[in-house]
Subunit: 165 residues, 3 copies
């Protein structure tokens, strides 16, 4: 892997470790993260430090990937998908002082190989999205998604499949 | 119509066909699309190739309009609205090779004249949103919306109107 | 407070009144608004004129704060949160002419001190989110949230708390 920095009008990349053929589109903010071979990162995407994205993935426009998220290889992440790493975020402590990194513990999220996360989804922290699982567009994922499962809705639940007559 | 290109810090416009008085705000990424007279395009918007937007429309900030979407005249599209053109998106094929455009068939979406799509909505592919229809904020539209109908929710359903006593 | 303007590739700040130690990240579009001491504004955020944000707040990436929104001190606003100020937005009048500011009346929204708005939420207009209230991630808030309450879902409802045995 190679460590890159780019400070251009369209891209703010600071200390990003990339594999081969990683492609960034316009207006990207990424820092301290790792992105594997052949992965594409769309416009208006932010990827925070200590996020790790595998090879052959697609991270579509307007998506936010926070610290603590690990995305394995061959994962599709739709447009406007948001991850979370804090279960009870607050701006300030009870005494009114501003929260700092010291007041805060990252809760991780794992997206396993080949999964597909639909556009407009929100992924709560502390969950695992299983191998080849599908998260339908517009879902709010609040718990683990088993390998190969398809979930959708708010909160996301397994899609019911009516038996064919 | 006029074909424009702009490669400035705030706008990446490549091969965009525009009518008269089209206005782009800051941080816009658009390419190979068509936008009619007097339409306004907000900040942090991406519009992909082969998308067509009519006259007198408003495309609000943070919205994503993908290939295959046709928006007729006088349509309001709220902030942070996402369209989709692929029913089962995957990053890679079963053999692990990266998907290319050849592996993929666009499913179109039509938004008819005068419709209003609320902020934060996700519009699945293959649907038609009817004339003067209203999609409530935060909806996930999974099927056609009839002309003049109002829908909301995830999945979006017609708003129930209790009869007045 | 100090009135600032910044016209750089990463920031379009026009007539923004700021307190001390306000921090803007990359790719921010803000105009005619007010932001209090120590508040942080993330990437890909837009804040419109006449919005007011208090002290010690966090406005996370991809969030849209529109005219008519008042955010008190110590409020956490997650990523990809959208506010609204128009109940029935339309692009054009019935006669087909484009809507202008004169055709439109702002409906305000108030977020009270210490509240926390989860990532991916949509907040309809005309509501008050109470002191220290929590809006769960991915919610669509359609009515007032009482002080100290926790709501979630689409539409957002109070979280049921099962009594412990």
């Amino acid at each position: 892997m190679e460590l890159i920095n780019e400070d251009s009008p369209r891209r703010a990349l600071a200390g990003v470790r990339v594999g081969k053929n990683v492609k960034f589109f316009n207006f990207v903010n990424a820092y301290g993260c790792e992105i594997g071979d052949n992965t594409k990162v769309g416009s208006f995407v932010e990827i925070q430090r200590n996020a790790r994205i595998g090879r052959n993935c697609k991270v579509s426009s307007h998506t936010f990937i926070c610290e603590g998220v690990v995305v394995e290889d061959e994962v599709f992440i739709g447009h406007n998908v948001s991850f979370i790493n804090d279960k009870l975020p607050r701006a300030a402590n009870a005494d009114g002082t501003l929260k700092t990194d010291a007041d805060w513990k990252v809760q991780g999220t794992l997206v396993r190989r080949g999964a597909s996360i639909g556009t407009g989804s929100t992924i709560l922290c502390g969950v695992t999205i299983g191998r080849d699982a599908v998260v339908g567009a517009g879902s709010v994922v609040t718990r683990d998604v088993p390998d190969g499962a398809t979930v959708a809705g708010n909160p996301a639940r397994p899609l019911s499949r009516k038996p064919k007559a």
